[in-house]
């Protein structure tokens, strides 16, 4: 479960957001909002009211903080993008891809991935989102893959901050985890 949530409106920095220096200013505020969020928590980066979001702005304001989040600098916290216009986030996706990152994007039609995520990983993620809470063993059975292959996938998804992973014990040589979707059915 993700107990805490906050929204961060990008619109506060303008409607047409294009330069790196503008993005640097936004990044400072976004990281402050992320730090203020109790754990475990998710920050919804809301693109409502935005007219244009360039790759340079998005890289500074969103992709760089996300890279730091994925480098485990911000604890048990998660970041998602929310927009009614997924094309707005195209260039953010390009920057995330260059950084070898992937981020969840919530829109009116459900969730999508911005950036780079191989199909087997996306398949695993979709199953976790569908179940909201599960284990690697249950996933391995559902996906008909070996347990250690499944552990590898969920480990990578957790490192990318696309799911929440909580260690609950061990079974033989493997740690046992509860896996939580960071997307809820209410999204």
């Amino acid at each position: 479960m993700i107990d805490h949530e906050a929204s961060f409106l990008i619109q506060q920095f303008g409607q047409r957001l294009g330069t790196r220096s503008e993005g640097e200013v936004a990044r400072t505020h976004l990281l402050r909002a992320l730090t203020a969020l109790p754990e475990p928590g998710r920050l919804l980066v809301d693109l409502a009211g935005i007219d244009v979001l360039s790759g340079s702005f998005a890289d500074e304001a969103i992709a760089i903080p996300y890279a730091r989040l994925a480098a485990a600098e911000y604890g048990d916290r998660y970041m998602l993008v929310r927009t009614s216009h997924p094309d707005l986030a195209e260039d953010l996706g390009y920057k995330l891809e260059r950084r070898k990152l992937a981020m969840l994007c919530l829109s009116d039609t459900g969730w999508t991935i911005l950036g780079a995520l191989p199909p087997p990983m996306e398949e695993t993620l979709a199953l976790i989102v569908e179940r909201e809470e599960t284990t690697a063993k249950e996933l391995a059975d559902a996906l008909s893959i070996r347990h250690n292959a499944c552990l590898h996938r969920v480990g990578r998804l957790a490192a990318l901050r696309l799911i929440r992973r909580e260690e609950v014990g061990s079974a033989g040589p493997y740690a046992t985890y509860r896996l939580f979707s960071v997307v809820s059915s209410a999204d």
């Binding site: 360039s54 790759g55 195209e90 920057k95 070898k100």
Partner: protein, 274 residues
């Protein structure tokens, strides 16, 4: 030369930079695109910095003269101080983009012009504005990355006609080879090799992967839109259309000059009948 454009501008450079012609003769020119226009400005200023006043013989064709006046060429060349000569509004298409802080206003002005003239879809407009932001930012980010260039002279101009939209972004800064060469592994790289790595492989002078890749993305978009892209730097020029992209030798000249031509369908307008 009856047309000064992306396709013919290297002839002008050959005359002024290689043959050392004592003037720029536009007398017989009947059409000038923004790339050609901005290159004239750069050539004149490049000569002035070396203490040479290079006179420009204006086109004899009245319509062409008027077009150049509307684009602001005589006014730009008439001032010795380049900063502040271009206003970022609809009346003055030539805009100063030397500093990042002024770029949003210039993009807004270009966007306003496009919205007034064309039924752009939201998606096309967003992509187009993103292209403007990234092209314009390249100038302050890269043209003087070494700090050695007194006046990189970043400028942008746009023109629309029956062929579509012509956009030019130029500077006379350090160029792509020198910029990429700031990375130790590319030290001494040629302009042609730098063009290849930057446009086709998405490399930049920054090791951080989030920086760079903009010209590659613009090249991919241009291709998808069936437009054309020319990028000249130092002694090399890249011409790209929807089918191919090739790099050629070019007369030496400082900086980077980019010409982008997008067809009318990108602007939401039907192509004229052939």
């Amino acid at each position: 030369m009856d047309r000064l454009s992306v396709e013919t501008a290297d002839q002008l450079l050959a005359r002024t930079e290689v043959d050392r012609a004592g003037e720029i003769d536009l007398g017989r020119v009947t059409r000038v695109d923004p790339y050609g226009l901005l290159l004239v400005v750069l050539i004149v200023y490049h000569h002035r910095e070396r203490g040479v006043d290079l006179p420009v013989r204006w086109p004899r064709h009245p319509q062409t003269r008027r077009a150049l006046e509307e684009m602001g060429l005589p006014r730009v060349l008439g001032r010795s101080e380049h900063r502040g000569w271009a206003r970022a509004d609809t009346s003055y298409p030539v805009a100063d983009i030397s500093e990042e802080k002024g770029i949003s206003a210039v993009v807004e002005a270009f966007d306003r012009r496009l919205l007034q003239g064309y039924p752009l879809t939201t998606a096309s407009r967003r992509r187009l504005i993103n292209v403007l932001f990234e092209l314009f930012q390249n100038i302050p980010h890269h043209s003087n990355a070494t700090g050695d260039v007194a006046h990189p002279m970043g400028m942008a101009a746009m023109q629309d006609d029956e062929d579509g939209i012509h956009l030019a972004v130029v500077d006379k800064g350090i160029g792509l080879g020198c910029s990429l060469g700031l990375r130790s592994e590319y030290h001494g790289i040629s302009d042609a090799a730098a063009l290849n790595r930057i446009v086709f492989l998405g490399m930049s002078r920054h090791a951080d992967p989030g920086h760079g890749g903009e010209l590659r993305r613009i090249a991919e978009l241009t291709r998808a839109w069936e437009g054309t892209l020319a990028i000249r730097s130092g002694e090399a020029i890249l011409y790209m259309d929807s089918e191919r992209g090739d790099i050629y030798d070019s007369p030496p000249f400082p900086g980077v000059q980019i010409g982008l031509r997008l067809p009318r369908h990108v602007l939401g307008v039907e192509e004229p009948p052939a």
